[in-house]
Symmetry: C2
Subunit: 428 residues, 2 copies
Amino acid sequence: MTDQTPVAGRTADLMMALGREARAAARIVALADTETKSRALRAAARVMTARTPEILAANARDLDAARAAGRPAAFLDRLALDAKRVGAIATSLDEIADLPDPVGAVMAEWTRPNGLVIARTRVPLGVVGIIFESRPNVTADAGGLCLKSGNAAILRAGSESIHSAGAIHACLVAGLAEAGLPAAAITLVPTIDREAVGLMLQGLGGAIDVIVPRGGKSLVARVQDEARVPVFAHLEGICHAYVDRDADADKAVAIVLNGKLRRTGVCGATECLLVDRAAPAGVLVRLVTALLDAGCEVRGDAETAAVDRRVRPAAADDYGREFLDTIIAVKVVDGVGAAITHIARYGSQHTDAIITENVATAERFTREVDSAIVLVNASTQFADGGEFGFGAEIGIATGKMHARGPVGVEQLTSFKYVVRGTGQVRPG
Amino acid sequence: MTDQTPVAGRTADLMMALGREARAAARIVALADTETKSRALRAAARVMTARTPEILAANARDLDAARAAGRPAAFLDRLALDAKRVGAIATSLDEIADLPDPVGAVMAEWTRPNGLVIARTRVPLGVVGIIFESRPNVTADAGGLCLKSGNAAILRAGSESIHSAGAIHACLVAGLAEAGLPAAAITLVPTIDREAVGLMLQGLGGAIDVIVPRGGKSLVARVQDEARVPVFAHLEGICHAYVDRDADADKAVAIVLNGKLRRTGVCGATECLLVDRAAPAGVLVRLVTALLDAGCEVRGDAETAAVDRRVRPAAADDYGREFLDTIIAVKVVDGVGAAITHIARYGSQHTDAIITENVATAERFTREVDSAIVLVNASTQFADGGEFGFGAEIGIATGKMHARGPVGVEQLTSFKYVVRGTGQVRPG
């Protein structure tokens, strides 16, 4: 009889069951103490190291399929594991174990005139759904961060990395078992049926509290569009660096080059350089020349093009574009006000920087630029949970609800108010 | 030509235009300084006092219509204003002006080893949509709290209170004008077309960041069900008081009576009393007798019924029911573990209390009960932003995203990271 059930129905039944099991497990990991969670994380890391050959064999299956499907080199690189990468994934789990446990931390405490002591205390969110594509390390990183923060995780790997993710997930489950925690605390969706994603975005009947997509723009766009539960994500990182009239030219050149070129494929890469028309003579030339000499394509407005014949004219849609490549858009603007206006129009509320020695100008920029991260005299490539001291991040969010900027273990928590009295009743 | 446009289309066009104007105004109030916002709030309060006759006349129109429609007395009472109530609304606006400005407050600041100084700084959320029913004071309270927190507000009053809301809203607009702030910072939806609510729940094309419903369970349920934007709300306040074996009997009686009977119509009213089977002889009797003697109907299990012949047998659905009346469900349970299990099953994650002198038992209860507010030895009626010291609240939220518990001005903010450097670039 079961075999005659339509596949779609089977996937829905499977996913709803996974949701219920994750919800039940969430209650257990929410109450697990720090030591138990750490034991699970460290055991998982140990098992992962020991099982490196199995993980690499699973990864080879995924790689073979990806090559057969004609996937590009960048895709294969994101997917590929070697012993060193597996070691790094295991090390990350140990590092997550070393982080302070956010659960139970008192965020604020105050005493009311009637003697009530009110404490705002961190609690886990519940069940986190993670939908990702090809990077196998997301399995361990996201699963580990969710466990550390007392949440259950439902991980949905892309079909291209399903074997790699499965092998890594097995190590996490072994770690959970060693600590006496339920396997459903970190669930890997066992089907590659695409319907599973849609079901997760609907929340699995209330079982999922938040969705974190990890992948390209089309995945994030779909998740943001369809999800009926909160989403922690950024669609694009269209990061700007604005070089003000009061900028230190040496700092400006160093920050812009690093912001654009340190890694061009990350969401914190600078995609657009804005230069104050009143900047000292030569600053624009130095910036543009340094970028070009470093091998970066420069797409500029007329004033920028006048600097160097290698500059290509910027098309209208080069502003507000996430190149994720060795390409930068450049524009000359009339001061900090115009820079703020440009960023409001073309930015993605992710990360934007000003280079200036003028404190008042810097204050205006940080106040008026409506982005998750606003930097003064530093590279946009610092947009990273590790660089913020969060230890690790599950992603970067540009929304304003709950989590904004790097999403680390603290951002994966909510809070409750614990109110301690001595018999108080409310008058009136 | 315009007159031939279908009404639905007109409402949609109107609402989208309101959304765009509110979004533009949000940027202005987000950057307005404390003094400007205070001037608007105090001016609105002053105008409101001066216009008391006009407000009462508008209210009389609403009351006449409500009486003609045969609305019950409780409804009329919620709707009715008099000079004293108008004065209280104006005073609330002055009190909101007196609150500390949350915008720009540094929530946390730390320095990284590379010298970067990272500050997590409060910023407004953007545009808050408030959908409410008959209480005219919501217009001023919600509008005032949104302005104080640097947000624009789009207020949708119930058709029954539209004239009262309009008269109060006019005072807010006068206050905004006096401070040089745009009228669209606090918008009252000028149509009673019910389609407007559905459009707001869709977010007005991205113009609304969060919805706050203020009203009965059916309104909140509809909002939670249909909204495509985040919602700060609670559906029900099914609050429990658990009297433990180690409770002080005098405190227990005082707390339970206050929790149930101080006001029965508020969301923090105790709806269910759980009594430890191992509580000292006489505690259950005292509790039940005191409730009955105070005029409260007691619906109990068999053990409770044995205490007093006035106790009525509880039906299965009396547990988990929000009576909002002088009725309480009572059950005898086997200790704190059973109380926690009962609350997990029947509660609404709003507010629950334990009465015990045992610190370890209290700690277990506060840790394991998954509610926004968990009290020890205090009345559930303290579930209130004012009682928490927040000054005022726009509502109470039971979700775990962003705001939880009383939603005051701080909970109406998000944050950004301001990172100050001296030329740092990211290595590697």
